[in-house]
Structures are given as structure tokens and as C-alpha cells.
Subunit: 324 residues, 2 copies
């Protein structure tokens, strides 16, 4: 098969699940596959699941693994995309894992590794929320707050390869160390903690009535249900998080003169447009200059598939660049 | 003269003075010239002073204006570098001035226009503070707080052409509109206002003793003198501004994974290293990840000449690109 028309595989490697897809050279999903990650089983077991998932998706797509032009993977954590190494992924219990090299040995095709939010933003920008933008920030609100940056049409890594980490920018410099960043104040984890604390302190909430003391399993969709039903306590906590995200988004838009921000992640997907609109409203009041108020903010559309498409796209781009 | 060896002119167009320099193709200053800006005389008068300044510098360098490969200008305010238009420059009382076109008609050589801090950062990066960096933020602390960004080795403009405006990022979202940004809290103007207000309220300060009621002419160098002499009141106000600049710098370093920040402008030049070190210390505590703590922060070295060199460099780069 000629390189330009070869299919590629994209993998979104999450802490809980991995989504795998074989994607045609013109970005149509040919076949999906899914595996549990089960990080507690260790590196070799995860690698075996990736390999078998890729093989399954290829079989479904009626191709051989050797027909793939390459494989792209988005991994949750710090990644060196140039050397294909996962530097640190807390959810996977990985440190300095040469993922590209390991998988290339097993699968005999080129493997490209990047951060999961980076590849999701790439996927959203190309296929998801609206038209392509040259300058775009992705903000993923879930367990933590992740970010990814496209500048001048390309993923931007910066000197220490950590660019885009908006979740780790500081909102309250005088707060204690564990309570000063965007992530500390706006993640789903924080939102749930605050709601639970207020309910435990005796405040009324329809969410409190529903969970009836089962404080350990409050999911994004539970928060969303009571937010959308206008529960006062849940609204106050979530709106406060959205307003603070708005400050961080505004500062990124001002500093980089961004035309678009895409917001994704579990909490965003569960609540949807009202959450994104609240962030937008907060940010619009704070950006500079007047021109920046025209920036656009959208909810991610591809959801689970953003990572698969973005990873495949990145692999297509890098493999073509390497052959130039 | 062959294009590659032609000299260029660089102009740093300030609200008070303009610095002009004829620079060789390998970035040696061949001849300087200086003019008052006198913005109150209007556009035509300023243009006439630019033209005569360029002519004088060329005469001193023993060349004709027509020998120049091009002219670069840094203007204080919002600039459209692609069309060579000064969109808005409050200090010059200009709005939508097609500066490149006007000067090309008068001088018959290509003219490139950019923001003054952008060209200063470019000059500093190439010739000034330390080795060249691919990713660098410039923060200019004077009347206001200006900024400029180099990413992947090139000036970064963003979608609305306003990238780098760190002075307009928000520190205190809940403050009133005129008191929430970095500029509102860290400029020389604010520092002086605060010092004066505290002295007027009866607090002791050696600066207060020196100015003896003449509150309207407190310059950067007066502030610097009493800061360096360890006056408690001046130190508190200036250190607070530096600490807040540190927060904004940290967030920019985290978001962009920057390797270097260069700090310039009137207040920085007057106080020097202690001011820059204070910003560095504050920022280092707040950046993420650990790797980002290796970022470097330096005081501008070229001072007045940064703009002249940067403007000439930009013109060299753009004219060569256009000929490709």
C-alpha cells in the first residue's frame, strides 16, 4: 500500500480504559476496539492489551497490522513526544517508559506518543468543535484539569515539553501549596469535595438527598443532574469553578491572542453547554484588548473519539514529515 | 550593493524620544541618531523627524538612504505587523496610521513596523541578555507593563495580533476594572502612586524626605535610589509589585513551558538585578512542572539600543523572507 493512502491506528490510553481505532488516511473510522487499562497489572500487561486491541481493530478493518502507516498514542501524563517516552503518568503508575520503542518492537510499525489532552485537542480542532483554528487552547476538566495548545496550526510543546498545563497555573498565590492552582480549585475532584463538605456540614441539597450518605461515589453525571435541576448548593460550587476557569482562560487568551478555546473532560461532557457558557461569560469580561472578546469557546464534540482521531492524525503527520 | 550585505536602519519610536540606528548586515551599529518625538506636534511633524533622523544616521554612516536594505520600526502600542499599520498608540495620539506606507513613500525603501516591546525582545534575544532562546517572554515595566513573545524562535502574534500582553492579564478578578490587571498593580505609575499615597498618609520614608512635597515628578531612578538604600516603605511597595509580576511570569512559564524571561523597562533598568531577582524568586515557587523551575530570568542588557537592533533585525528577516 502506498504510504499516502495507508490506514493508521489511534489510541487514547486512559487510566481506566483504552480506546483504539483504525482510521483511514482521510480520517474515517474503519474499526474501533476497546480494552480495560488495569494499570495495577503492570506495564507488560498494559502493553499486551494495547497489542491485542490494535490486532483486533485491524482484523475488524480487514487489514494486517503491517498495513498500518503508523500508530499514534495519547497517554495521560508528561510525555517526551520527540523520543516517544512517557516521562510520568501517575494514573498508569509509569515513570520513564519508552512506549514508542516497546510498541515498535512488538508491532513493527512507527509509533508516535504524545500527551492525551494534546491529541484530543488536535482531534477536536480537525474534526470536532467547529472549524479549524490556528491558535487554540484545550482545557479538559475531569479528575484534574489538563490542557493542550495548538499555536500557528501545530501542537506547541515549549522548552520543557510541558506547554498547555493551564490546570497548574496559579489563581491564589497566597493559598497553601495544595490549594492555589486552577486544578486545585476547578477539577471535578474539587467540585465534588466541596459539595460533599457542604452537605456534611448540614446544608440542604437535592444531590445530598439522592446520595443519602454515600459520599464516595459522586460522579460527574450526578453533579450534572443536580446542576441542571438548579440545585442551589451544586450551582454555587460549579459556577464558582467555572468562573475561576474563566479567569485562567481569559489570561491565556490575552497572553496568546487565541481565537478559540475548546473545553472537554468528564465534568464538561456531563453538564454541557451551560458549563461552557459560564466559563465563556467570565472570560469575556476579562480579556484584553477589545479584539480578544471575539474569541470563541466551544464544548468538545468528539468526546471519547477525540483522542483516537487526534492520535491517528498526529501519527499521519509525523510519519509523513519523517519521510520528507 | 547586494541585498545580503546591505545595511538596515532600526528605529525605536517612543512617546518621548526616538532612537535611530544604521546597522550593518551582521548587526554592528554603524551610526546612531536621536530625535525628540513631540507627539503633540502631530503625525506630519513626527514623520518629518523620523525621515531627518534616518537621513542623519545614513550620512554619518557614509551611505545614502537608498543603500538601506530596509527600515524596521518599533512603535508603542497595538500594531498590525502584516500591514504595517499602527492601530492605536495612545502615547503618540495615533489611531490607524499606515506608518509603513507613509515612510516607504518618503524614503523609497521597504519599511517593517512592529510593537516596541516585540522588537526589544527580539533585540535582547539576539544580542543582549545571554544566549538565544527559542521560547522567551519579554516583560517591560515602565509607565505601563508591556510584553512580547518569541515562540519557536519567532515573534508570536496570535489571532488578534496582540499576543504577549502580559500586563493585561488579570491578578485580581474581583477588583474594580481599573485595578485588577498586572499593569494596574505592577507598573512604575502604580508603584509611584502607592508610595506617594503612603507618604501623604503620614508614613515615614527617605523618598518622602527627599522629594519634600513635590509629588508629581517621582522618577524610576528616585524609586530605585531609595529601594537600594533599603527604605522600608519603598521596599514594601516595590517588592509587592515584583511578587505580583512573579505570579504572572510563573503562569506564563507554566502555560508555555518557557526557558527564559527577559525583564526590561524604566523601573527595571533603574533598580536592576535586585528587582529581577525578586521576580524570579516569586515565580520559581509557583511554576509547574518541576522542570520549569530551570527557567531563566534576566534583566535586559541593551537598554535603549534593544529596540534599534531588534527593529533592524526584524526588517532584515522580513525583507529576506519577502525576496525568497
Amino acid at each position: 500500500m502506498a504510504t499516502m493512502t495507508k490506514p493508521f491506528a489511534g489510541i487514547d490510553l486512559g487510566g481506566t480504559n483504552m480506546q483504539i481505532g483504525v482510521v483511514s488516511h482521510d480520517l474515517k473510522l474503519l474499526a474501533p476496539a476497546k480494552r480495560k487499562t488495569k494499570s495495577e497489572d503492570g506495564l507488560d500487561a498494559i502493553i499486551a492489551r494495547i497489542v491485542s486491541g490494535v490486532q483486533e481493530a485491524c482484523t475488524t478493518a480487514a487489514i494486517k497490522v503491517s498495513d498500518l502507516g503508523g500508530i499514534g498514542i495519547g497517554a495521560p501524563g508528561a510525555v517526551d513526544p520527540y523520543r516517544g517516552i512517557v516521562l510520568e503518568a501517575v494514573n498508569l503508575r509509569w515513570k520513564d517508559v519508552p512506549l514508542a520503542e516497546i510498541l515498535e518492537k512488538r508491532l513493527k510499525v512507527p509509533v508516535i506518543v504524545d500527551n492525551d489532552v494534546n491529541v484530543a485537542v488536535l482531534g477536536e480542532n480537525a474534526l470536532g468543535a467547529g472549524q479549524q483554528s490556528a491558535n487554540i487552547l484545550g482545557v479538559w476538566v475531569g479528575t484534574g484539569v489538563g490542557g493542550g495548545l495548538i499555536l500557528n496550526g501545530k501542537l506547541f510543546y515549549g522548552h520543557f515539553l510541558s506547554a498547555g498545563e493551564i490546570g497548574h497555573t496559579i489563581l491564589f498565590p497566597n493559598n497553601p501549596k495544595g490549594n492555589r492552582s486552577v486544578e486545585h480549585n476547578c477539577s471535578r475532584t474539587t467540585v465534588v469535595d466541596r459539595i460533599v463538605r457542604l452537605i456534611k456540614s448540614g446544608q440542604k441539597s437535592s444531590l445530598g438527598d439522592e446520595i443519602a450518605g454515600d459520599y464516595d461515589n459522586v460522579k460527574s453525571r450526578t453533579v450534572a443532574k443536580h446542576y441542571l435541576a438548579d440545585d442551589k448548593l451544586v450551582r454555587e460550587v460549579v459556577d464558582n469553578a467555572a468562573d475561576l476557569l474563566g479567569v485562567a482562560v481569559a489570561n491565556a487568551v490575552t497572553l496568546l491572542s487565541l481565537e478559540r478555546v475548546v473545553v472537554g473532560g468528564g465534568l464538561t461532557e456531563a453538564i454541557g453547554k451551560p458549563f461552557v457558557d459560564r466559563i465563556h461569560k467570565a472570560a469575556k469580561e476579562l480579556v484584553f484588548p477589545e479584539a480578544c472578546r471575539k474569541f470563541d469557546i466551544v464544548a468538545s464534540k468528539l468526546e471519547d473519539n477525540a483522542g483516537v482521531f487526534g492520535a491517528a492524525m498526529l501519527a499521519i503527520e509525523r510519519v509523513r514529515e519523517a519521510k520528507k
